[in-house]
């Protein structure tokens, strides 16, 4: 593939359209999962990564150009910035660069395993959304959370899950496993539907 060609209007439109779709799915799942503390803390990121994997696969394979992941993750960071968690914008730019590094080699956009690796790494790193506030930005996060209507009970529960090494390991394993499983489903969907339809 030619990864050095200039981005066309179609590439920009496809990337932005699918990125917004990914972000909307992520926010919706997070919102629905907040009904239960356990699901919200332990499973929600995993579910998100599983559901979004096919969309990411399609975006990367369809656009077939470098910096797709970086653009998507920058947009995601901007959404977090608008919601008050400013520190997640630079974080997601770095995550985007990590994914780009994984996909940098020639032919990566046609190699399902490379895309699977990028999405699986992203899934693990997505937990930074929950871990970064505890590690470095607790004051900002806690005041933002309380101001946006989260109860003290929710915040205490959040702290108890993310500060115990056992729970943290379980959460990370579930998230990475879901991201990996979602990538396998995405890869299968590409072969079963999208390649046959001639859209890749």
């Amino acid at each position: 593939m030619n990864t050095n060609t200039k981005w066309s209007a179609k590439d920009v439109i496809t990337t932005v359209l699918l990125s917004v779709l990914l972000i909307v799915i992520q926010l919706l799942i997070n919102m629905v999962c907040m009904a239960s503390h356990f699901v919200s803390m332990v499973l929600s990121v995993g579910i998100t990564c599983f559901v979004c994997a096919p969309v990411y696969f399609l975006m990367v394979r369809r656009v077939h150009k470098r910096f797709v992941s970086l653009l998507y993750m920058t947009l995601l960071g901007v959404v977090f910035l608008i919601m008050g968690d400013w520190f997640l914008l630079p974080y997601f730019i770095v995550v985007g660069l990590v994914c780009e590094a994984i996909l940098w080699r020639k032919g990566s956009y046609d190699a399902p395993w490379r895309i699977t690796a990028a999405w699986t790494v992203y899934s693990g790193l997505y937990q930074g959304v929950n871990l970064l506030p505890i590690l470095a930005f607790w004051e900002t996060f806690a005041s933002n959370a309380l101001a946006s209507g989260m109860t003290q009970e929710y915040i205490d529960s959040y702290l108890s899950y993310y500060t115990q090494p056992g729970w943290l390991a379980v959460i990370l394993i579930i998230t990475v496993a879901c991201g990996f499983a979602g990538s396998l489903v995405g890869s299968r969907m590409m072969a079963k539907h999208f390649s046959k339809a001639g859209v890749l």
């Binding site: 209007a9 359209l17 909307v24 096919p54 608008i82 919601m83 946006s148």
Partner: protein
Amino acid sequence: MEKKKAGFAVAARLCVFAATLAGVFLTDGTDRTWIIAAMLFCVLAAQKAWKQCAGFAVFYGILSLLLYLIRFHGLRMAAFSEFHVFLFWWLTPVFMAAWNLVSAPPGMLSAFFARVHAPTGAILGLLVIFRFFPTMRAELHGLRESMHNRGLTGPAQVLRRPGNTFEYILVPMLLRCLQISDQLAVSAAARGIDTPGPRHSYYEQKLRVRDILAAALYAGAILVFLLIGGVK
């Protein structure tokens, strides 16, 4: 005045949106964001956007009632917690300002961004973001009807085969997204998006006094709201 002419220029709508974001996310007193919502109802009324006004009034009224019942009468709901109700209530001004912006005709939006010399890629990206929700709403409606006709929306079907349901929803939705991006790209090319040099539009709308006045009044009111109510 015609309804079309009653709508504010894109610059004024953008200013209202930016000021709303600042007011909602920077205020120290989130319980007071109803003031911003009230100001936005005035903005919509000034544009004679009665349908939007009525829709948001019903939505905001129901949320306010639920929040009142939860906080002062101990109402508990199984699926929708206080957090959700508060979240939607708190974010309603953002939804209103965003809808006011995205409901501007696409031609007007692109003409504005071209006039401020935004790069072509950024104009395309912003247009896609702005038109995403109205477009996807129509697409999801069509998808739901199509699934319903094939008997794929029944609870038994969804619970028995969740994997299949996931595929039935995701695959057509993604294919439709790709079709939309193709159509938009062709449409953009036909309108000379790759043409170098300045672009003009039939929809170009100059700033009128009422646009400047509305934007200045709204931004000033948000500033006063933040100064009096306190900033996080």
